[in-house]
Chain length 201, copies 2
């Protein structure tokens, strides 16, 4: 399980998309949310948009691995698709915030790698938020405050990537994923592989 | 500090050289050894070739970070060049065996990443050992036995790379190095960087 977190506007969503396009062993955990769908967002790809009552029912039935409320809207990670993917030997990418990451860490134990993406500067962050033309000044102001708050959690993550250049940041995230897969404890079958080699000498 | 270990013939030395050529932040720790120089080996690049008496003097004066005896010859890692490189913010690559790695781990604590390179098969391993035309059959036989012994230590390493294809193995080692550098605790100045970002919102 790979977590990408960042303040809104640091480029996390673009990085996630590129990573998913380049790596077919990796699957996105699509969150459920009670917030309204934005123009350009696709149901089932960006989020599953649901009402508050079914969301709360999922919470009650422990169907969410983690959930949190942000600006009055709820966001959560359905448990079943994650278990299915992991059970089939695929890796799962989570585009979630620090609250979700904390909950996931408690539930997932060691098999979790976490990356925090930072913007190179505040003008850069604000620029990216303003490019999303659909947001009002008020929403942007709230997002900037939230960014400051979110950034304070960088030290809870395994890796930190500063998104100075999208291509470079992408290569860095790819390297982290590749390295995490090469960790001894994640490679199944090595004991047998080495025993087999030794038996042939 | 990055350690590359493998049974002789698994491609470790080629991987080390390519890594050093591609990455000027990385410096090789050149071992001292009492074994005779082989044709093609360069004093000061591959090893520093010294006599037994000065070797033992270095051991006595704690000038070696680690040392071990293999086939009657001693190999050790001088402490001073490593400390100089690390002090100047460079990373150090160690091409050492499991005995050296164990000693280094004890002395280096957390700031060490270790990679074990495995051959894809025994014919492949033997083929590579035979390509080094200077070795006799007897030497090759001893190296194969030592390879079996060395391989039994794979589980003491952080990462395992199977050298099925040299280019791929090289990219994997590069990814590990890149990811290790992106680990939060290795990036100095992040606290100040984030505080500075937050102060500008």
């Amino acid at each position: 399980m790979l977590v990408l977190s960042s303040p809104s506007g640091a480029g996390k969503t673009t990085l996630s998309r590129r990573l998913l396009e380049s790596d077919h062993q990796l699957e996105l955990s699509v969150s459920v949310t009670t917030r309204p769908q934005r123009p350009g967002e696709v149901e089932g790809r960006d989020y599953r948009f649901i009402d508050r009552a079914p969301f709360d029912a999922m919470v009650k039935q422990s169907e969410l691995l983690e959930w949190a409320e942000v600006f009055g809207h709820r966001y959560g990670t359905p448990r079943a698709p994650v278990q299915t993917a992991l059970g089939q030997g695929r890796d799962v990418l989570f585009d979630i915030d620090w609250q979700g990451t904390q909950q996931l860490r408690e539930k997932a134990g060691g098999d979790l790698a976490t990356i925090f993406v930072l913007p190179p500067s505040i003008p850069d962050l604000e620029g990216r938020l303003r490019t999303r033309a659909q947001d009002t000044d008020d929403v942007i102001h709230r997002r900037m405050s939230k960014a400051a708050d979110e950034m304070s959690h960088w030290a809870e993550y395994d890796y930190v990537v500063i998104n100075r250049d999208l291509d470079r940041a992408f290569r860095e995230v790819q390297a982290i994923l590749a390295a995490e897969r090469l960790k001894r404890e994640r490679q199944t079958g090595l004991t047998t592989f080495v025993r087999d080699l030794q038996s042939k000498i």
